[in-house]
Amino acid sequence: MPEERPPALETIDLTKRFGAFTALDRLSITVEPGEVYGFLGPNGAGKTTTIRMALGLARPSSGRVQIFGVDAWADAAAAHRRVAFVPGEFNAWPKLRGGEVLDLLGSIHGGYDAAFRDELIERFEFDPTKKGREYSKGNRQKIALIAAFMVQPDLLVLDEPTSGLDPLMEREFRACVGAARQRGQTVFLSSHILSEVEAVCDRVAILRQGKLVEVGTLDDLRKLNTREVEVELASSPIPDLSTVDGVEEVVADGRIVTLRLRGGPAPLLKALAPFEVVALDIREPSLEEMFLTYYGDGERGDPAP
């Protein structure tokens, strides 16, 4: 019998409408305990809307979100006990000092390890003695990051958490996420920084116009994506490759054929076997190209089969 462990975060047909506009349309994703899950999509795709519902700040129009099996809306306070959140833009109380904010948020959460807090303060080179209005955007963001990591929650919900951070702090952030994963914490990361996602995430989900378009490991996504292939043949006439399984957008220019290949290369290689191939170049798509395909309006064909 496999152990019955509820997912860290699960959305079930989650839908949010604002009047006639559907911001999120029947989203169903599952974040397993202990994984680092990337949440991607262009602006306005519904990422923050999803997160606000996962935190019980907004009510689903239909469907639901569960945090470790607890309904995020109906039982928000219970769900929050296992979650810490870092918003994209942390607004501090102008009158409170950074240290006081950490103390307040940590106490509300139910306590924290002061030594670990001090370690994080040092890591992020944060000055906790200033008042809220005196911090720069990046430094305000550090308050939120330290407050979230220091309570060592079971689930970290991060909504573009590194906006305003310099590259050194970005590196510290990645190290903190790595350490959290080591401890078995789950991380749900919404981000536009693809290198960040690539560096820390086990799986990613891609959202576009309120709908889920893809979910999987980065390797899965690469496989689903088309690769660019260039074939140089010794002599014409060239064979018709457009009927081969997985081949698209064939362009022939003299003895050189370029095409896009979806899935494994075996069918293409078989089709080329009778011919004398001078050169064969298969280029993996960069992450950026891949996401641009997903984000864009799908001109180059929907990557998902």
Binding site: L57, H80, F85, P87, P94, L96, L105, I108, T129
Partner: protein, 526 residues
């Protein structure tokens, strides 16, 4: 859209609302005067009686031409209306100049090819247009009531001029101070000081030159309906231009988003840690409560101090006594009667305070700061209940401050009343205050973005309906719509426990309904 158009868009709505309030006040005042003093002889009596009372001089200013409707209007309502317009001006200007910068909204405009100075110039010009609307609006109200057109225009300028000067002052404090609260607070403090200096100057003939040192003295000296002072008009215009020029000159000496006087000097000393949402509420409210306590204490002292003088005067003029007693429901020709009316003013102040507390809760939500608490594990119900609790306790504190200061004011004037009576009178206005607090919670729960409009709109309308409705002899059902009409003027009469209980019950029901609605809705950021 031009910068001017943008500024005007921010201004026109509040301009129209406040102008409408002033127009209603003026129109009801004309009705009141005609009903109280219908004949020439009765008006001569008014001149005789009102011409020589220091308490009234202090409250309203030195009277001129009381035997005419215009003179009475300018005297009895001019001072109040100028203060109302001045308040509007400093709130509107600090919102436009400082509020937008605090929120970072102005950065894009500042970064545009429009220079910061011409941007500020456009904003000030838009505000100038707004004061013109106030001037023309109130002048039209007077002229429509049958007053001479020239005098009406000058009277309108009396109000618009107050807007210009205090708007100009607020433009300068907006360059000096940050955030908006402080810029508006200092401008408001200057308004209070101007009122006090004018009151002293008007009440003590030997120091009447003092009135020429304050903007509220200039507006008073315009004397629109008899022997108008063009010097006062010129001074107001000159000072307004000077203030605008000062603001423009200061603008380029400071960073956008900052004030010339920086907020340094905050001590680094450790203080007691804030570990709960309730503790946070208290930390955020503390300074506000101290400021309001000072305001309530001054109000109580002044009203208590004036009690004896006013009562003496009222005993001589049965007409005016009759008129004012309609407001509170009891004769004010006795000290207790006047104090009953005075605590009506305290009720108004406390109701506004209760509103500001819930409005600041809404600001916590709008700015996203509340989310920090909620996602850390604070429950919505407990958070809102904490805010409401701090509001209610603060109201109680302010009521007791009002009791003590009024008692002290009466004692200072050489008369006497006992402290227990003052405490009873103060506690008697707490239920109506909580009622408005509860209604604001309801608005917060159901229409969060309209919290401030409901909080201040409901209080202002209710007070206006009760005071001006009863003076002008409006039907009783209309007056009784106002919760203030159900506050017994303690100590003149015994408290009305049924009315108090009903108000507290409504407050609780509204607050619970608001809380329930809040728990069912999305968190609404700005």
């Amino acid at each position: 859209m031009t910068p001017f158009g943008l500024a005007w868009r921010l201004l026109w709505r509040t301009t129209l609302v406040w102008t409408a309030v002033v127009v209603v006040v003026l129109a009801s005042a004309v009705v009141a005067y005609r009903s109280a003093y219908p004949t020439a002889i009765s008006r001569q009596v008014v001149v005789h009686l009102l011409g020589d009372n220091r308490a009234f001089d202090a409250l309203y200013g030195r009277p001129v031409a009381l035997d005419t409707i215009g003179g009475f209007l300018a005297w009895r309502y001019g001072a109040t209306a100028t203060v109302i317009v001045a308040l509007w001006a400093l709130l509107a200007v600090t919102r436009m100049l400082r509020g937008d910068e605090d929120e970072g909204r102005s950065d894009l405009l500042v970064a545009s090819p429009v220079s910061t100075r011409s941007l500020l110039g456009s904003q000030l010009a838009a505000f100038g247009l707004a004061t013109l609307v106030v001037t023309v609006g109130s002048a039209s109200a007077c002229a429509a009531s049958g007053l001479p057109v020239g005098g009406s225009l000058l009277f309108g300028f009396m109000l618009g001029g107050a807007g210009l000067v205090f708007g100009g002052l607020a433009a300068v404090t907006s360059q000096l101070l940050t955030p908006r609260r402080r810029a508006a607070g200092w401008a408001g403090g200057l308004l209070g000081a101007a009122y006090l200096v004018r009151a002293i100057g008007d009440a003590t003939p030997a120091r009447s030159w003092l009135t020429w040192t304050t903007p509220l003295g200039w507006t008073e000296r315009i004397s629109p309906f008899r022997d108008p002072s063009w010097l006062a008009v010129a001074v107001i215009l000159a000072v307004s231009i000077l203030l605008a020029a000062t603001a423009l000159a200061l603008r380029n000496r400071r960073d956008t988003g900052e004030g010339l006087v920086s907020a340094v000097g905050s001590s680094r000393a450790p203080r007691r840690p804030v570990t709960t949402p309730l503790g946070l509420d208290w930390t955020l409210t503390r300074a506000t409560l101290v400021a309001w306590s000072v305001g309530v204490a001054v109000t109580g002292l002044v009203l208590g101090f004036l009690a004896v003088d006013v009562v003496e005067f009222m005993q001589q003029d049965s007409n005016l006594n009759d008129l004012t007693s309609r407001i509170g429901g009891a004769s004010i020709a006795t000290i207790d009667g006047f104090l009953g009316l005075a605590f009506g003013v305290v009720a108004l102040v406390l109701a506004v305070f209760a509103g500001t507390q819930i409005v600041s809760a809404r600001e916590e939500e709008g700015s996203g700061r509340m989310e920090n608490l909620l996602t850390a594990g604070a429950g919505r119900v407990r958070w809102l209940a904490g805010r409401a609790l701090v509001m209610a306790l603060s109201v109680l504190v302010l009521a007791l401050v009002g009791a003590a200061s009024t008692w002290a004011g009466v004692a200072l004037s050489g008369s006497g009343t006992d402290m227990a009576t003052m405490v009873r009178a103060a506690l008697n206005v707490v239920p109506v205050t909580l009622l408005f607090g509860g209604l604001t919670v309801l608005a917060f729960g159901v229409f969060p973005r309209a919290t401030a409009a409901v909080a201040f709109g409901a209080v202002t309308l209710s007070y206006a309906v009760q005071v001006f409705g009863s003076i002008a002899g409006a039907p009783s059902w209309l007056v009784e719509v106002s919760p203030f009409a159900h506050v017994a003027p303690v100590p003149a009469v015994a408290a009305d426990p049924v009315a108090s209980a009903v108000m507290i019950a409504i407050a609780l029901v509204a607050a619970v309904a608001g809380g329930a609605a809040f728990c069912r809705r999305d968190i609404a950021t700005e």
